[in-house]
Structure formats: structure tokens, C-alpha cells
């Protein structure tokens, strides 16, 4: 475990140093993030200029949801997505051999090699929106709510990671995974609103097929004190199951990998 953490830290440092050379990217990222947050806030203002609450969610509460979605999106694009993208490319090009021959667990290795440090801007802007939302909450946030939120956010991040790895592993069977990425990117946008507003088929879809509900809505429910023990148990149970399944799925997929002439 300690070895894994050390390795992760090493890759993080190398990746960051590499990216820090390109300072201009930071400004562009900053601008992109500002535009994204700005439009999101405009949408929210528009919605609440026509109504007081959306399915029982007030404007500050929706800011909380939105903040979590942007923040988690930043986490995904900083670490999860670049790693999975590289994995898929390497499977296609037969370069995964280099990762597999290293004396380290292959799943760990493929999950920590890349980092896009500038995307951290999204984590920061998400956190800012989140803080702004929290400051507007009438009820305030108790310590236990905050702790529960952090825990559920962690659980959500693990769930999202597992889901991405499962999808990326499909690359062992399907060559064109780029369009799957596009699809996921689109679907992730649904997380900007509490899943309870969606019709049943969509709600089930973004809960169990693409686990956005567990990753975003559940932590938001924790902060707005509407989380029930049943939901917590379900989220934790689902995440744990998915983690184990992912492990098996990865090994299963790996058996399909035949490499390419090195």
C-alpha cells in the first residue's frame, strides 16, 4: 500500500513538472473554467427567475449540486480520464506491454501514470461554487453533515473510477472507444441537476448504468441534510461491489490482450 502511494506521488510529480512547463495552458484553462462556471450560473439564474424551487431544491442547494459536479469533473479530467485514454490508446497500439512487464500491479499502474495538473482549476472553481452554495443554505451545515459529505464524495470518486476503468477495459474487445468517451462526456452533464427530477428510466440509467447519482447527488444530499441511511448503505455497497467487479473485469480483459510485435 505504501509502495503504491509512493509510486502515485512519483508519477504525480513527474506529470506535474511536465505540465508546469506550459504556463499558457493555465490561463486558457482558467478562461475555459470561468466561461463554464459563468454559463452554469446564468442557467441557474434563469431557472430561478421562473420558479422558487426545483422539485424541492432551492437555488443554494442546486449550487451545491453544481459545485460538486464541476469539482468532480475536474478530478476526472485531472487523473481518471487521461489515464484511461492512455490505456485505450496503448491497447490499440500494442504498447501496453511496457506497463505489463513492470514489477507492479498492472491495474494500479495504468490508473496512476497520467496527470493533467492544470485541470485542477476546475476542482478549485467547483469548490468555489460549492462554498458559495453552502454559504446560502438556510439551515447551515453541521460537522457531521460535512464529514458525511467528504466520505460520500470519496465513495463517489471511487465509483466513478471503477466505472471508467470498466469502460476503458472494453478497449480489449472494441477498437473504437473514442466515441464511447464522447458519450460519457455528454452523459456526465446530467449530474448538474439532482437526479430526482429525471423520469424513472433516466434516473435508473444515471444511477446504476452510469453511476452519476452516487457520485454527485448523494454527496449533495449529505450537505443538504436529506441523506437517508438506506441511501448511504446502497451507495457504499454499490461502490464496494463495483470495486471488486472492476478488479475481476480488468484481469478478465487483460487475458484478451495479445500485445503487438514489440
Amino acid at each position: 500500500m505504501r509502495r503504491t502511494v509512493r509510486l502515485g506521488w512519483l508519477f504525480f510529480r513527474i506529470g506535474s513538472m511536465n505540465e508546469l512547463q506550459y504556463r499558457a495552458n493555465f490561463l486558457i484553462q482558467l478562461l475555459q473554467s470561468a466561461v463554464a462556471v459563468g454559463t452554469a450560473l446564468v442557467v441557474l439564474a434563469l431557472v430561478y427567475s421562473h420558479t422558487e424551487e426545483l422539485n424541492g431544491w432551492s437555488q443554494p442547494e442546486l449550487l451545491v449540486v453544481m459545485g460538486i459536479q464541476i469539482l468532480l469533473g475536474g478530478v476526472i479530467r485531472t487523473t481518471i480520464q487521461p489515464n484511461m485514454q492512455r490505456l485505450m490508446e496503448e491497447v490499440r497500439d500494442g504498447k501496453l506491454d511496457f506497463a505489463l512487464t513492470k514489477p507492479e500491479d498492472s491495474q494500479v499502474l495504468v490508473s496512476i501514470r497520467e496527470v493533467r495538473i492544470w485541470q485542477v482549476v476546475d476542482v478549485a472553481s467547483g469548490a468555489a461554487v460549492l462554498a458559495y452554495g453552502v454559504s446560502g443554505l438556510e439551515r447551515g451545515v453541521s460537522i457531521s453533515d460535512a464529514l458525511l459529505f467528504l466520505a460520500m464524495l470519496g465513495v463517489g470518486a471511487i465509483t466513478i473510477y471503477c466505472f471508467w476503468l470498466i469502460v476503458a477495459t472494453l478497449a480489449f474487445w472494441v477498437v473504437d472507444t473514442w466515441s464511447i468517451m464522447e458519450l460519457l462526456d455528454g452523459v456526465y452533464q446530467t449530474g448538474r441537476w439532482p437526479v430526482s427530477i429525471y423520469p424513472l428510466w433516466l434516473r435508473l440509467g444515471v444511477t446504476f448504468i452510469v453511476p452519476i447519482a452516487f457520485a454527485i447527488t448523494v454527496p449533495a444530499e449529505a450537505l443538504t441534510s436529506r441523506l437517508e441511511w438506506g441511501t448511504i448503505a446502497l451507495a457504499v455497497g454499490f461502490s464496494a461491489t463495483l470495486f471488486v467487479v472492476t478488479r475481476y473485469w480488468w484481469r478478465f480483459g487483460l487475458r484478451r490482450y495479445s500485445g503487438a510485435s514489440a
Binding site: T39, L46, H50, T51, S179, G186, Q189, W193, I197
Partner: protein, 274 residues
């Protein structure tokens, strides 16, 4: 005169051939196109659900737009959105940075023709593949859509008008890449502005009055809101034809802008690579 006629005919011939090759090429990637179309559905479905929820809370409508009309708006939205996808400034950036433009410049045709014809061919494939998706959305969201024959006619023209406006708008933005190879900052800002003022986010009547005024004098509304409104809304004959005229006006203005900037821009181009 005869030479002119010959030129037009050969250009037409080019469009047909290029369009047809693109149709055949893109049709091979049906599955990829479908994934992509479905990924794009998330955006309108989310908006649709949000506004439907609000409408239901307020007894069935927001600012006179009923839930059924919202459904119709966002279903037609999906097609118009697809018509709005054209060669982006990022494409221009790539073209110039990688020196791809060199080959295009050697041809006896303006590179814009290649983009216009190629994407138009792709649109035909997209429209065909979109039809089953629209049918499913229809079943899922129960829209109210009852267009007259004239509205259908204007709509079928207006989606291509939208295609031309968007192509010319993004091409003129793309010309900036002749001066700087980093186009993303300006592009992102323009897209954000477009997102808010085109009707992509919400039907324009839901925007505050001043924003609607601004939208009236910008091209965005005519490439997005107008085609949808022509089919879904209840425009008079005058408004329908006036809308087409506005589209034409913007096509001319933006094409002119692109051509003028192109003249200066292409002089700055120095080939890179082979």
C-alpha cells in the same frame, strides 16, 4: 458568359461529388455516429426535464410555453444542433499548424468549398440516423407539434440556412488562426455567447427582455432559435419569410467577412512541414 456557366457547372459537380463521397464515407461509421448522437442527447434532455419540471410546478406552462411545446422544442433542437456542427476554428488551427493548408491552396478551389460540401454530405447521413432517435424521443416525451405545410417548408430551408450561417461564422473565427495558432480563448468566449443568445440553452422568450434585444441583432438566433421556432412555434407567414430573409442577410454578411479576412490572412500563411 459561357465560361461563367461552365465554372458554375463544374463547381456544382464538385459539390455533388464531394457530398456523395462524404455520405458514403460517413455511412461506414454508423455505430460511431450513433454513440455520438446519443451523447449529444444528454444536453437537450436535461434542459427539457428541468423546464418541464418547472412548468408542471406552475400548472402546466412557463411564460405560455406548455410542457408539450417544451418537448417539441428540444426534440427539434437535436436536429438543429446537428445542423450547427461544422468545421471549427480548432480545425483551422490544425490545418495551419500542421501545414495541411498547403495542399488545399494548390487546388483551383477555395478551401471553404471543401468544408461546405463535405459537411453537407455528412449532414445527410446525420439527418437519416437522427430520425429513429427523434421517434424514440417522441414516444418518451410526448411533444405537441402541429406544423402547417408552409412551416415545414420554411423549416427544411432554414436548417440549411443555419448550416451556412454557422459555417461562415466559425470560418471567420477560424481565420484568426492565421495570426495566432492559439484560437481556443476567443473561440470559447464566442461559443459561450452563442450558447446564451442562440436559444440553445433555453427558448429565447424565457430570457430577460434586454437579452432578447441583443439576440435580435446577432447572427446566433438565426442559426438556432429561428429554425426551431419556424416548426414548433406559431409564426405568421410574414415572420417566416422575414426570418429566411434575415438568414440570407447573415449568410451574405458573414461570407463577405470571411472572404475579406481571407485575402489578408492567406498572405500571412507560410507553409510548415512538407
Amino acid at each position: 458568359m459561357n465560361a461563367e456557366a461552365g465554372r458554375v457547372r463544374s463547381l456544382l459537380d464538385y459539390y455533388v461529388t464531394r457530398g456523395r463521397t462524404q455520405i458514403q464515407a460517413q455511412f461506414q461509421y454508423r455505430a460511431a455516429t450513433y454513440f455520438w448522437l446519443i451523447g449529444m442527447l444528454a444536453e437537450p434532455i436535461v434542459y427539457l426535464v428541468v423546464w418541464t419540471t418547472i412548468a408542471e410546478q406552475q400548472g402546466g406552462s412557463v411564460q405560455g410555453i406548455t410542457t408539450g411545446e417544451f418537448a417539441a422544442y428540444y426534440i427539434v433542437w437535436t436536429l438543429v444542433r446537428n445542423m450547427n456542427i461544422v468545421f471549427t476554428p480548432y480545425g483551422w488551427e490544425w490545418r495551419i499548424r500542421e501545414g495541411q493548408l498547403s495542399a488545399a491552396l494548390l487546388r483551383p478551389l477555395h478551401p471553404l468549398h471543401e468544408d461546405l460540401a463535405g459537411f453537407a454530405g455528412w449532414k445527410v447521413v446525420t439527418i437519416l440516423l437522427w430520425l429513429p432517435i427523434a421517434a424514440l424521443l417522441w414516444l418518451a416525451f410526448d411533444p405537441v407539434l402541429d406544423p402547417t405545410l408552409l412551416e415545414v417548408g420554411v423549416f427544411s430551408l432554414a436548417i440549411w440556412g443555419a448550416y451556412l450561417i454557422r459555417t461562415m461564422f466559425l470560418s471567420s473565427l477560424g481565420m484568426i488562426t492565421f495570426w495566432t495558432t492559439r484560437v481556443s480563448a476567443i473561440f470559447e468566449l464566442a461559443i459561450a455567447l452563442e450558447l446564451l443568445l442562440s436559444g440553445r440553452l433555453v427558448p429565447l422568450p424565457l430570457m430577460p427582455g434586454w437579452a432578447q434585444e441583443v439576440a435580435n441583432v446577432l447572427p446566433f438566433k438565426w442559426s438556432f432559435y429561428f429554425p426551431i421556432d419556424a416548426l414548433v412555434g406559431d409564426l405568421s407567414r410574414g415572420e417566416l419569410l422575414g426570418g429566411l430573409a434575415m438568414q440570407l442577410l447573415w449568410i451574405v454578411v458573414l461570407t463577405g467577412l470571411t472572404m475579406v479576412v481571407w485575402r489578408f490572412a492567406v498572405r500571412r500563411y507560410s507553409a510548415v512541414g512538407n
